[in-house]
Amino acid sequence: SLLVAGGCVSRIDVGWMESGPVINRAIKEGRIKLIEWSNGALAYRLLAGSLGVPYLPMRYLGGTDTFEQSAAKLTQDPYTGKPICLVPALYPDVALIHVHQCDVYGNARVFGAGVAPLEMAMCSKKVIVSTEEIIDTEAIRRQPQRTTIPYYFVDAVVHAPFGSYPGSTPGLYGAHLEHWLEFAAAQMQNKTDDYLEKWVHSVASHEEMLEKRVGADRLEQMRQGETVQEGYYD
């Protein structure tokens, strides 16, 4: 919604999107065009891209209006003659991926279940990894099993503690619930410009935003709000 409010968006491939008045209006005014998919279909299109192939067959989407408004195709499987749906690979221009740990070369660790960070890194033309923590390459090499994304997919590494703000980084800090409520209210009251001014335009960097708009106490509370570490860092 914020990117739409900011006028940065002309087309959205939709799996599920946070909807609301801003997007509603943009659709009606013809300012954005939507292409329908599903969460899984978009992740699967990233998988296609990550395999370096132009498309993948899959077992869903067919038969629905979602299918009609997508770029999926219904074809005949050349082996069995049965119908099968195809979806085209997704090759994003740029991926922004936030991770728990990363070395200076981009060998990155994402802990916990996740949508498709590896596929995203593999299929995107440029990959920027932001990380809660930079760790030594020797630490990466001592536990190769824990690496999610190998270095050669990564074009840039940014050290960004609390990089998921206002969301959570599982095992490290919880989400900032009040921020989400503030955002929802701004949307309802048609005040996204004020919201953007406060949280984006009036601060020079992510660090300044954290320092001035969130504050150390709140960040510490977010850390304490994450009650589960088990399984992430151990």
Binding site: I23, N39, R59, G62, G63, P83, G112, A113, A175, G231
Partner: protein, 286 residues
């Protein structure tokens, strides 16, 4: 609407339509089966309630790749943050991975919510009113519903018992039920054979599907609901089973678990329509 003030009559219980639906779904959950559940919201709450109350061995998988978690209650508000809801999973994987598990037929049941549903169990989560290009109200889209409804053996769909929900024609078919209801309709568009919607659950009623015609059939009623009342809240007329199952009144224990642990603060569940039910008779008093 808000919860009735304290001092409600003895022998009565109050809950929202959402809480009622959650409890109804929870009663259908089968032990040791594997469920594929939408990322958040009442469907997941229903499964968690069943897991706490009756079926500790039921497994579930969520879209973002947590396999068979044993969540750490209370869950965070608005389900923000994965660590407590993914707690003690047997595996942490990814969206493509669990979708593939579903494609392979390992998901016994799918469990999700719909904005609008038609007689063949096709449903909408994309927009309501207007046209696709000029929708009156645009919603999030299918999210994970399409892959769940397409690939699980049996799909459980929750919605509200409202005429605008049970429609003759969907504004948009986001996810498939039995499509046009003809034999093999799903298979002809590449969906896995012998899959499809199994139950539709509302606060007032339980529906199945006729095996031959694939049409929705009323098979159960909440104690406070009547067949006439339910049919009045549907645009199309469903088939009706010879004998209607009498669904249960949510127990205090169930409601306590929902309110204290599963949706602490009632962010999702308290916002529904409140009703007050006399426990003994199951009748509605408010």
């Amino acid at each position: 609407m808000t919860e009735p003030a304290v001092g409600k009559a003895e022998g009565t219980t109050s809950f929202t339509d959402i809480e009622a639906t959650i409890c109804h779904i929870a009663h259908t959950i089968e032990e040791d089966k594997l469920y594929f559940v939408q990322m958040a919201g009442p469907p997941l709450m229903a499964l968690l309630l069943a897991k706490r109350m009756r079926t500790p061995g039921v497994g579930y998988v969520v879209e973002e790749g947590a396999v068979a978690p044993r969540p750490n209650f209370p869950l965070p508000r608005m389900m923000l943050g994965a660590s407590r809801s993914h707690y003690r999973s047997v595996a942490w994987t990814s969206m493509n991975m669990v979708d593939a598990h579903a494609a392979l037929g390992f998901m016994d049941y799918g469990l999700l919510a719909a904005l609008q549903i038609d007689r063949f169990g096709n449903f909408n989560s994309t927009f309501i009113g207007g046209t696709y290009e000029q929708p009156d109200r645009r919603f999030g889209g299918p999210g994970g519903a399409n892959e769940i409804a397409s690939q699980c053996w049996r799909t459980l769909i929750m919605t509200k018992q409202k005429k605008r929900k049970f429609v003759n024609k969907l504004d948009f078919m986001s996810s498939p039920g039995y499509l046009d209801g003809t034999p093999g309709a799903r298979e002809r568009v590449g969906l896995p054979a012998n899959t499809g919607p199994y139950r539709v659950i509302t606060e007032d009623a339980l529906f199945g599907f006729d095996e031959a015609t694939r049409q929705m059939r009323l098979i159960g009623l909440a104690p406070w609901a009547t067949m006439e009342g339910v049919l009045a809240e549907m645009e199309f007329e469903p088939l009706v089973a010879d004998k209607l199952e009498r669904m249960q009144v949510p127990s205090e224990e169930e409601l306590n678990i929902i309110r204290a642990d599963i949706d602490p603060g009632g962010f999702s569940t308290s916002r529904g329509q409140w009703m007050t039910i006399e426990r003994a008779s199951g009748r509605r008093t408010a």
